[in-house]
Symmetry: D2
Subunit: 374 residues, 4 copies
């Protein structure tokens, strides 16, 4: 995926290369996910009215992918840049204004320009393609995220089924209904005060086959770390026992191997979070990502104006999210689908006589019942 | 950096490409850092007796880099593979044994082979080169990490000066001396029990100039996330307020801008952890990485033998670290030096009339006193 | 540059990443070059009526680049796919029909789909950006190509000034006027017969500074070879003495060094074609690229229909070029501009104390009057 | 493949990443090919006595590849740098001396340092691995090159069988015995005069399956162009009809499709040289590469000394090849094997329902008898 576009530019868009051919794609599948990320979808998101309507410009013939690059474009419809004029020479605190102008000597200032999280609409569009490719495959891969903490309010642990069932039914995208309504109240309180609040997103990946991830800098977790920290406003990523692994002993944390019902070797427990030695074990992969509070707030803040050389009191009065995790959920899911598909296309578990059969093939028949060491 | 090598193979090594020419390199500088990572350096590390002596095979002429790739090799001297024979077909819990054999249908089983953290000696060697290049530059970049938690014992917050001064004087590499000795006791207790324990490493990067990091997937924090999660046994990475950012409001977290003593625009506080919009602000970059407990423990554990099809009780009796953060400190510092140098070589802050002057140049004269928006 | 698009799809387009900020861009500059590649511009090109109007969707603020990715899109206006229906299951000889369908199990069949040279409009748009960046720089880089052979008719050697002055004044884009009109006649003859003909494009690059190109797989000539063979229908690339170098002795071909008028070291002659050891010498870089005849011809040809299992006689009656080099000229120039800019942004000649001054900088002050070997 | 090393440094070496696991590797296979490239093998090569003995440092377990990176090193044994001292500040004409020193401000001057073709020993070692992987596969891929021209002496066209049978039996590596002995005489004449001469290498690739190569910048021919122009001293690359394609009409050159004996669609002729639309057709891929004469000659030449600021007459009296194609043959074969294997590991021809079966698989069962357009 290669992307372009600014928040208030003419359009944003992306090119997805390497998508397999012969996959049925309906623009509705993509639109569905975009609608989950779309601004203006509820009281806890910005009221900017962007339909986020995606056009598929190439790579599809009669509804099926051709294997050629897929170009997608989303035109910006509701950009109101005038509200950003006061900040052209007075950087909003903790935005990209200061660093972009410092690095490039200029910036697209309307709506945060290139640094706006509007960019993530591209990711969701590309992720919807990856999801469809995987859904059509014989693998039973299911990925779901939900908001498990806003401010101090944390959701109790819930099952994957609850995450899937409940998280899309409330504006906060928390899979635990009671917590969701508490979170919503908290968010509204901060919004009323002209402030915003941080939170976390928890995700689970089910059905990811054994063998994805290459040793070292292409390990599954390093790709996760790269992707999750690329999401705007994230400050932390953990998987498996995460940060709390520091307090576990090796004996407590190690997962013994057993023979499963089908006679295949499996870890008995999953403290490792689905990844060992950088490679997936076939167990559930789970993790958590923290988002800081949105930096665009109505409350008065101090900055400086480098034109006048004076301090300046500002209020960021555009239409902004009071909290990020609810819209972060589809963004994170999209990146996770892309990571899995990328690794699968690179080839996963390798048959010992793979070259004779299938170079680069992901061979599910070769389950490690007897991964013999030749 | 491209690397190769297994724990018990003939040698490990790496190639460092793109190193600037004209930098004075003494193999001693590299050896110094290798010695900090080296096994057998203290009671809290494995007793494997590896001198880890590096040879520089190319890219240096009369003690100065030539700009050509630098090949380095470290021969393995003290590999005793026989202790690993019981595990050839009986994967050690939570190691890479199961996934490597599953993915590749074979594996180098001695000492953990390719999945061994012995690989990180390559990173330290390459990082020492990056460090030397930066030390010789006019930038005053200083990077230091220390162990700030082992099990439940956490170091109080200390100054950077304390980190630098104290962390290399004790085997745990904790910058707070009293805590260090408590940690050491704790580690010995677990070691005596045949168990191991997790912990965390905290790092600070001082003097990193403004403007490093490109928007989106090449943001400074996504590169950090990628690198830190590539370190063997890491399960979490956070920077700035990290995971705790979830409980801060936007108003609490936002850092106002002020004019500094020299009249230049600077953030007044550093809740952002030195990165805004994916680009460095010139402030201190700080973060924390969690390591799970070493998986190689003497305590009896259960696994299966896929040859016999039976469960198997095992003890991992090789020479192993009872805790990872102390040796992780130089590894993390090395990766951080490489990241900074990489970004600087790509070009950082850009002069508006850069092409006329210096394409790709990192121009420190262009401080954002007046980053005008053309 | 990343591209997408099929000949008869909704649109083609590309994303240009890494373009420096602060460069003035007028869409007219891009359009100008696109018009040189545009179909329907003369009798010797296809009559397809594509305005090839490019839209700049991002990366530009008030007419200046911001350093963010530049998204460009060109909508297809005059696609008439019905003429391609006979070939859906009957591959046109020597097109991409057979290989695309074999590889992907499907293809975009209208107008040749992804394999159409219509894709090169993207390259010309991106190349126009690169050209503008270089024109605005202090370097005096000028690149020009012209058609120096069609069938058996070869242009005599002409000066660079003649190439620049004459090649855009005739439809064949040959810099030698008399030869151009002979070529035009020859092309019309083949066109009348329903046939097509091959030819070559010769190029010169003036003012490319010393030091571009990295040893080995990033050598200047390997990048040229890669780019030139990526142009559709090319079958040969040579630079300097090219293929004829095989008959020269070392003594005949070697270029002695002398001191130039300004006291700087320069090669006295230029048999090396501006590149030594994979790195530019500051001399003129010149080369030649051969194009085979267009494969779409009206003359009857045989193929098979894999639906019926029968041989099939076909005529390709769309609107097609009878010869490729005239429209190949702007495509080749565009790629050459991109290659030069790419290498310059990576950093070219390196000052020995570069890190103290300018990491990655292209420093023209450091001319090899005294490139001392430390 | 990533490489390092200078001609007169301590060692050269490379790391081969992504090699499939489970392939039997004997160091003898690699040594065999290295011996074909080795200096001192005959009168027409340099007399430098390098055994070129390769050590495999990693990635192999009990004689089989493990899928982990393979590190290889070749120590330099017979470097005599003193003969290069006169050239430290007086660049040898048409070598890399001038450009390396200009770019880097320093260089490894002994034996040409990094710019020496000694580097290609690494390529031959890596290519031998790729060859073994392909030989062990079910594909019947055979690649052979031979010297088809030295100076004005050109070999008549010969069969592939003759190339294979004869080209390794004479020091010139020409598959036409009579021509070979004429070439040898010619070379000796030039050598006696203290001069050198150019020539060409012709290659054929048999059995490369349909579907390798991705559209556009990853087309099979652009990868060939990139690789062939990376070989030191090459100045031209052509495939299929090559440069002569310029004189063919479309009707003459186009290759009609027919049903083969097995009922599958095949091109009847092979003017296209095995590649259409950037993708292989299953036909023989053939091409030619030109090498200029070696630049190191005993004859007196003029250069300048930038230390004294004076012109200087020099003689390059080291041990040098009088001609390059004979040793270029194994180098070119090695690169071709690597290109084919690279493309095959990326996945070639795609089954329409590939995701359900085998993502990324090269599926030979799916021959384009009926490549239906869905």
């Amino acid at each position: 995926m290669t992307t372009f576009g600014e928040s208030h530019g003419e359009a944003i868009g992306c090119i997805v290369s390497g998508c397999p051919s012969g996959v049925e794609i309906d623009v509705k599948h993509i639109q569905q996910d975009l609608d989950r990320r779309r601004p203006g979808q509820s009281m806890v998101t910005t009221s900017r009215a962007e339909p986020d309507q995606v056009s598929l410009l190439s790579g599809i013939e009669n509804g099926y992918t051709t294997g050629a690059p897929i170009g997608m474009v989303i035109y910006n419809k509701d950009a109101r840049s005038s509200k950003y004029e006061p900040f052209i020479t007075a950087p909003r605190p903790s935005h990209g204004d200061f660093t972009y102008s410092s690095k490039f000597g200029t910036r697209s200032w309307g709506g945060g320009g290139r640094s706006s999280a509007r960019e993530t609409a591209n990711w969701v569009a590309a992720g919807a393609l990856a999801k469809k490719v995987l859904l059509d495959s014989k693998y039973d891969i299911e990925i779901k995220a939900h908001v498990n903490q806003i401010g101090e309010i944390r959701s109790p642990d819930i099952t994957f089924e609850e995450m899937v069932k409940n998280s899309e039914t409330n504006p906060v995208r928390c899979g635990h209904i009671e917590t969701a309504s508490e979170m919503e109240k908290l968010i509204r309180n901060y919004q009323t005060e002209g402030d915003s609040i941080g939170g976390t997103v928890y995700f689970e990946m089910h059905g990811v086959p054994i063998g994805l991830g290459a040793p070292r800098f292409d390990s599954f977790e390093s790709r996760l770390g790269h992707a999750m920290l690329s999401v705007p406003a994230t400050t932390s990523f953990e998987f498996g026992l995460g940060n709390s692994a520091k307090t576990y002993t090796g004996f407590e944390r190690n997962d013994p191997f057993v023979f499963g019902d089908d006679g295949l070797v499996v870890p008995e427990t999953n403290n490792h979070g689905g990844i060992q030695g950088g490679i997936t074990t076939g167990e559930i992969i789970f993790g958590e990502v923290a988002f800081h509070a949105p930096t665009s707030i109505v409350k008065k803040q101090m900055t400086v104006d480098w034109d006048t050389g004076e301090p300046k009191e500002i209020q960021v009065t555009g239409r902004h999210d009071p909290v990020l995790p609810p819209r972060g959920v589809p963004v994170i899911e999209s990146l996770l689908y892309m990571i899995v598909l990328d690794f699968m296309l690179l080839g996963g578990r390798i048959n010992p006589d793979r070259i004779d059969d299938n170079p680069g093939v992901y061979d599910t028949e070769y389950h490690p019942k007897n991964p013999q060491n030749k």
